[in-house]
C-alpha cells in the first residue's frame, strides 16, 4: 500500500487525529442532545429520538460513526504495537514521570480500551433497544417500551445504581482520554506553537470537562429522580 496515511508515522498520526476529532465533535453533539432529556417530562428529548430513528440519514450517520470508531481503534493498536517495538525489549530499571507530562498522555490505549468497553455496554443498553428494534420491524423492545421512547429508557437504565457507577467510570476514562487527546490532535496536524500550546491544553481541559459534566449530570440526575418519585 503506497499511501502515506498507512506507511508514514506522521500519516498514521494524521488519521488518529482526524478520526479522534470527528469522535469529539460527535460527542459534543450527543452530549448536547442528552441534556435535553433533563428538560420537562422528556417529550422534547423523544422528539429528537424520533428524528434519529431508523431513517436513512440516521443510519448513514451511525455507519460513518462506526467506521470512525473502527479506524481510530485499529490505528490505536497498530501505533501502540509499533511504539512498543521501537522502545525495545529491555526496559529501564528506574522510571519517573517527567516534569509536565500527564499520566493520561502515556496511557491513551488503556483509556481507549475502557472507552470501547463502556461503548459496548452502552450499545446494549440503548442502541439495541432503540434503532435495532426499529430495524427489525418491531414496535416495542424487551422492556415493553416504544423504540423512540428514549426518555423512559434513560429513566430505566439510570434507576439502577450499578449502571450509574459503570457509566461514571466510562465518562471519567473518556475525560482523561480527551484531556490529552483534544490538544494532541491540534499538535498532530501542526496547529500549535509556543503561544498556542498552553492555550490548546486549556481548551482541551474545558472541552473534556464539558463533555464529562454534560454526560455525567444526566446519569446522576436520573438516578436521584428514581430515588424520590415526587421530584
Amino acid at each position: 500500500m503506497g499511501c502515506f496515511l498507512t506507511n508514514s508515522s506522521l500519516g498514521r498520526k494524521l488519521v488518529m487525529s482526524i478520526s479522534g476529532c470527528f469522535l469529539v465533535l460527535f460527542l459534543l453533539f450527543h452530549m448536547a442532545m442528552n441534556v435535553v432529556a433533563l428538560i420537562g417530562d422528556g417529550s422534547a428529548y423523544n422528539v429528537i429520538c424520533g428524528f434519529l430513528g431508523a431513517n436513512w440519514y440516521a443510519l448513514v450517520g451511525t455507519a460513518v460513526l462506526a467506521l470512525g470508531v473502527l479506524v481510530h481503534f485499529v490505528y490505536a493498536f497498530i501505533l501502540t504495537w509499533q511504539n512498543r517495538k521501537a522502545r525495545g525489549n529491555v526496559r529501564y530499571a528506574v522510571t519517573v514521570t517527567e516534569k509536565g507530562v500527564d499520566w493520561s498522555s502515556k496511557n491513551m490505549l488503556l483509556l481507549g480500551v475502557i472507552v470501547i468497553l463502556g461503548l459496548l455496554l452502552h450499545l446494549t443498553h440503548f442502541w439495541s433497544k432503540m434503532m435495532l428494534v426499529e430495524l427489525m420491524g418491531q414496535h416495542a423492545n424487551n422492556l415493553g417500551l416504544a423504540p423512540t421512547d428514549g426518555a423512559a429508557l434513560i429513566q430505566y437504565t439510570f434507576s439502577q445504581w450499578y449502571n450509574v457507577v459503570l457509566y461514571l467510570v466510562w465518562f471519567a476514562a473518556l475525560w482523561l482520554h480527551l484531556n490529552h487527546g483534544v490538544w494532541s490532535m491540534f499538535q498532530t496536524v501542526g496547529w500549535a506553537n509556543d503561544t498556542w500550546l498552553p492555550r490548546l491544553k486549556c481548551i482541551a481541559k474545558l472541552v473534556s470537562g464539558l463533555i464529562f459534566l454534560g454526560f455525567a449530570v444526566v446519569a446522576v440526575v436520573f438516578y436521584i429522580k428514581s430515588l424520590c418519585p415526587c421530584c
Binding site: 511504539n83 521501537a86 529501564y92 509536565g100 499538535q187 496536524v189 501542526g190 500550546l197
Partner: protein, 247 residues
C-alpha cells in the same frame, strides 16, 4: 561523599547485561558525575577489573556525546543540562544511584553504558543540510533575516543530537530531534528551498530506522538538555503534511 552505584554492565551488543554494584568513597561534592565515574574506573583498573565504558567528549555541555540514564532521568536529575554538567552535590550523601544506558530499539547497546546513536546521523544525512554551490548564490551573511526567525532557528539549532529524546520517549520516537533539525532550517531562507524534500526524507528515514510514532507526551522536552520545545514538532508536522499535500 560516599555513593553506591548500580551500573549496567554488558560485554558487547550480543551478550546479556546485568546490574553490578560498586562503592565510591571520599568523593568531593564538586566532582562531576563523569569524574566520579573516572575515579571508579581508576579503582577498577587498579584492581585488575574492566573499567565501565561510557560516552563523553567535550565535558562542557556542547558536543552531545555524553548520555546516561541516571535514576530514571536521561542526563540525570537536573533540567536542561547534559550528563557532563551533573555534579555529585546534587545527590544525597550515601545515596544509591542507578546508571543505565539509553534504551531504545534504534540505539543498541555496544558496551556497558555506550549505545550506538548512528541512527541519528543517518537521519541527518537524509536531509538535515542545505545544498550550496560555491560562487552561485549570495553570501549567506548578506541575506537579511528577521530577528524573531533567526532566534527561533537558533533555539532549534541548539540541539546537540544526544539522543535523550528517543531514549526518554515511551514510544521510542525521534520526533524532537528531527523536529529541531527541520525547524532550524525551515526558519531560514537558505533552508526554505529544500524544505519540503527535507521534511519528507528525514521523516521517511526516521520511520525506516524503526523509531516510534509520537503521541505528544512531551517527555522529550522535559528531558532535553537543550530545552527544545515540542512546538518544533508541530512545525515538523506542518512542514511534512504540507509537503505531502503537494505530492
Amino acid at each position: 561523599m560516599n555513593f553506591t552505584l548500580k551500573i549496567w554492565r554488558q560485554r558487547d551488543a550480543h551478550s546479556k547485561g546485568e546490574f553490578k554494584e560498586y562503592k565510591v568513597t571520599d568523593i568531593s561534592s564538586d566532582t562531576s558525575f563523569l569524574e566520579m565515574l573516572d575515579i571508579l574506573n581508576n579503582d577498577l583498573v587498579h584492581k585488575g577489573e574492566e573499567p565501565v565504558a561510557f560516552d563523553h567528549d567535550c565535558r562542557e555541555g556542547i558536543c552531545g556525546m555524553c548520555s546516561l540514564h541516571i535514576d530514571g532521568h536521561a542526563h540525570g536529575p537536573s533540567q536542561a543540562v547534559t550528563t557532563c554538567q551533573i555534579y555529585m552535590r546534587q545527590f544525597k550523601d550515601g545515596a544509591t544511584i542507578t546508571v543505565e544506558p539509553w534504551r531504545s530499539a534504534a540505539f543498541p547497546v555496544i558496551r556497558d553504558l555506550v549505545v550506538n546513536r548512528g541512527a541519528y546521523d543517518e537521519i541527518l544525512q537524509a536531509g538535515g543540510f542545505v545544498s550550496v554551490r560555491t560562487n552561485s548564490v549570495p553570501d549567506g551573511n548578506a541575506i537579511p533575516i528577521p530577528q524573531a526567525d533567526a532566534e527561533e532557528s537558533m533555539d532549534a539549532a541548539a540541539c546537540v543530537g544526544c539522543g535523550a529524546c528517543a531514549a526518554t520517549c515511551k514510544n521510542g520516537s525521534a520526533m524532537l530531534f528531527v523536529a529541531a533539525r527541520v525547524s532550524s532550517l525551515a526558519k531560514l531562507p537558505q533552508g526554505r528551498v529544500e524544505g519540503a524534500r527535507r521534511a519528507k526524507s528525514m521523516v521517511a528515514k526516521m520511520d525506516e530506522l524503526g523509531f516510534g510514532n509520537c503521541t505528544n507526551t512531551g517527555a522529550c522536552q522535559a528531558e532535553c538538555p537543550k530545552g527544545i520545545s515540542i512546538a518544533h514538532i508541530a512545525r515538523l508536522n506542518r512542514e511534512f503534511l504540507a509537503a505531502k499535500l503537494e505530492d
